[in-house]
């Protein structure tokens, strides 16, 4: 969603709901996203996977350093090359990889910390909503390897028999050139 609409949308949806409901929704979503982050950082990948719907999409396009005149080319589009372009089955493969006992990039495992900030519910429609987050993922490995990834995340959250599930995640990383040996972690 283009930022320009951010405020308006937020506003419009604000009118739709009472502040009371919005606060409850905000609380519920924040706690859900915090718990989700804790599962990754706690290396509970299988439990994390269960938070995703079967039709989910998990996508991190490639960002490029471009001039303002080419700003529309800053991110690659759907269907083009990306860093992540996963569905449930490929996410499952990533988790299976980490459980395989021979996933060297994660053994010894990374120490990750997911910071979920500036949580904004920007759209509520039916049983789905769109949530924007400013995230920081801090990772250390071995004695000295240190990586920081920050960016904007757009999550699609769906209510499935009362419980919240993730059905979509778009990860707009700030880095163009990835300053790390790998991205063997989950965002």
């Amino acid at each position: 969603m283009p930022h320009s609409e951010t405020l308006t949308v937020a506003a419009s949806y604000a009118n739709a709901l009472s502040i009371q409901s919005r606060i409850e929704l905000q609380f519920e979503i924040e706690q859900f996203l915090y718990a989700e982050a804790a599962l990754i950082d706690g290396r509970e990948y299988r439990a994390w996977l269960d938070l995703w719907t079967d039709d989910c999409s998990y996508w991190m396009p490639i960002r490029r350093t471009v001039t303002l005149s080419d700003i529309d080319k800053e991110f690659t589009k759907r269907g083009k090359m990306a860093f992540f372009d996963d569905d449930k089955s490929s996410l499952t493969m990533r988790v299976a990889k980490m459980e395989s006992g021979s996933s060297w990039s994660e053994d010894p495992p990374s120490r990750t910390r997911h910071f979920v900030n500036n949580v904004r519910v920007v759209e509520v429609g039916g049983n789905e909503m769109t949530v924007e987050v400013a995230f920081m993922l801090y990772r250390t490995r071995l004695d000295t390897e240190e990586s920081t990834w920050a960016g904007r995340r757009v999550d699609r959250i769906r209510r499935v028999n009362g419980a919240l599930k993730l059905c979509g995640r778009e990860i707009y990383l700030d880095q163009t050139l990835i300053r790390a040996t790998n991205m063997s972690t989950l965002f």
Binding site: P61, K73, K77, N182
Partner: protein, 459 residues
């Protein structure tokens, strides 16, 4: 920073020639961890070689440009008003500022953000603010255009450039093996680069990444988890009974699986339609994109031996043709201890959209920092590089003798020669043998004179 030999000791040729021992197949670790060797590599290898710049499809229109590197020299590759591709050093002739800071884009001309000197897309200096008022017309614009690569040429749309006017032509530089290597990418007809180059930094020496591309040996162990996870059948891609190595002058090589002669003979009998049908069938069963069964025309391009290759070519020094000829991987030196990795996906224009989408998804998940395979490579490479620095550790030479002395070079009537063998390290040895030639040469004249000839007989 660790200095391997005494600080400031000049780097003698004998010292260089001692780095790799062809008889025992062992390599001195200093080549991975020495500032002086690295600086010499920039001068003697990257500043002399033909370096990959881009594919024409990345800059289709006048003014389209991408940024790339020759060693650590940043260059602009741009399509000028004549439609020609120019390779210009990305540094203003006035005070050195970078003309382009974006990694890609479209420009009418290159205006420097410091004082506004304006360069035409072909590098000509066309605008100098205050030319009359400040410079009193006293500057010969023709002498102050952007610096250009000494030679620029392309092979079927794949652009290369060299900074050395004495370098041989691209065609001669590539030689048959280099052309076959690039040919694997072109064997399905005209290609284009898919939007999006994956780029990341691995803290390893660039050569560790390069010799790994020939390394079919590490796949089974390093990437076991991708198999267990069901991403791909690791064992199935190795074909240890059918490996073929082609060695080319100046260090090019191709190593990996090959189509057995009998299977190739069978394929040669099929029409293009029959081949497509076959590929489609196989695709149904297999995971991943359809197998790159080549069309009749491919044999022209690749020759009777090359057409059988399913291996990994390296265009010396640092361009890997990968993923059954649907990806290019460039390894750019960033000091002795860091390498920038670039992944390009290159697909036949004619490829059906749905197949394309499948191939793109597969390539996205295969390599790159988050790739199911590549994420396990980086730390091995960085640890190998790191262990080249310890006072004691660096005294132990790498073992690179797999298959040494056990194979035979076969020469085809067509003149194409190859080694038919199992998984081996012939290509890695060839890489470092040629690396020594390049490093010890004083000039292209010297290198042309004095470089390893493609071996014959026992290897």
């Amino acid at each position: 920073m660790d200095a391997i030999h005494e600080q400031g000791a000049a780097l003698g040729k004998s010292e260089i020639r001692s780095c790799f021992d062809s008889d025992t197949g062992t390599l001195d670790r200093r080549v991975f961890a020495d500032e002086d060797i690295y600086n010499l590599e920039l001068r003697n290898i990257f500043a002399r070689a033909w370096n990959f710049m881009c594919h024409e499809s990345q800059i289709p229109n006048v003014g389209d440009y991408v940024i790339n590197y020759i060693g650590e020299d940043q260059v602009i590759i741009v399509r000028d008003k004549q439609g020609d591709v120019q390779v210009l050093l990305n540094t203003c002739r006035h005070r050195g500022n970078a003309l382009c800071r974006a990694e890609q884009g479209n420009a009418k001309s290159f205006v420097c953000s410091y004082h506004g000197w304006n360069y035409d897309l072909n590098g000509d200096l066309i605008g100098v603010p205050g030319l009359t008022a400040y410079y009193r017309k006293d500057i010969d614009k023709s002498q102050w255009g952007l610096a250009k690569a000494a030679q620029v040429d392309h092979f079927h749309g794949l652009y290369f450039a060299t900074l050395d006017p004495d370098a041989p032509s691209l065609h001669d530089y590539l030689g048959d093996v280099g052309r076959v290597g690039l040919g694997l990418l072109l064997a399905q007809g005209d290609v284009e680069v898919v939007e999006g180059v994956q780029r990341n930094i691995i803290d390893c020496n660039w050569k560790v990444a390069v010799d790994n591309l020939f390394d079919w040996y590490h796949v089974q162990y390093s990437h076991a988890s991708a198999g267990i996870a069901g991403f791909m059948d690791i064992a199935a891609i190795l074909h240890p009974q059918n490996q073929m190595v082609m060695l080319g002058e100046y260090g090019h090589a191709i190593s990996g699986p090959a189509i057995p002669q009998d299977k190739q003979d069978f394929l040669d009998g099929l029409s293009d339609e029959e081949r497509r049908a076959l590929a489609a069938n196989i695709a149904k069963e297999s995971k991943g994109p359809p197998p790159p069964i080549r069309m009749k025309a491919a044999k022209e391009l690749l020759g009777p031996v090359g057409v059988r290759s399913m291996g990994h070519p390296n265009i010396f020094p640092n361009l890997w043709v990968s993923t059954n000829g649907t990806q290019l991987c460039l390894r750019l030196p960033r000091g002795p201890f860091e390498t920038e990795i670039r992944w390009y996906t290159v697909l036949p224009k004619a490829m059906p959209e749905d197949v394309k989408r499948q191939a793109i998804a597969f390539n996205t998940h295969l390599f790159g920092p988050a790739g199911m395979l590549e994420q396990d490579d980086g730390e091995n490479w960085s640890q190998s590089t790191r262990a080249s620095r310890g006072v004691k550790s660096r005294s132990y030479r790498h073992h690179m003798a797999m298959g040494l002395g056990h194979d035979e070079v076969m020469v085809d009537p067509s003149g194409q020669s190859r080694i038919e063998t199992t998984i081996s390290e012939h290509a890695q040895r060839w890489l470092y043998r040629n690396w020594m030639d390049w490093m010890a040469a004083d000039s292209w004249a010297d290198l042309k004179e004095d470089h390893s000839r493609v071996p014959e007989g026992r290897v």
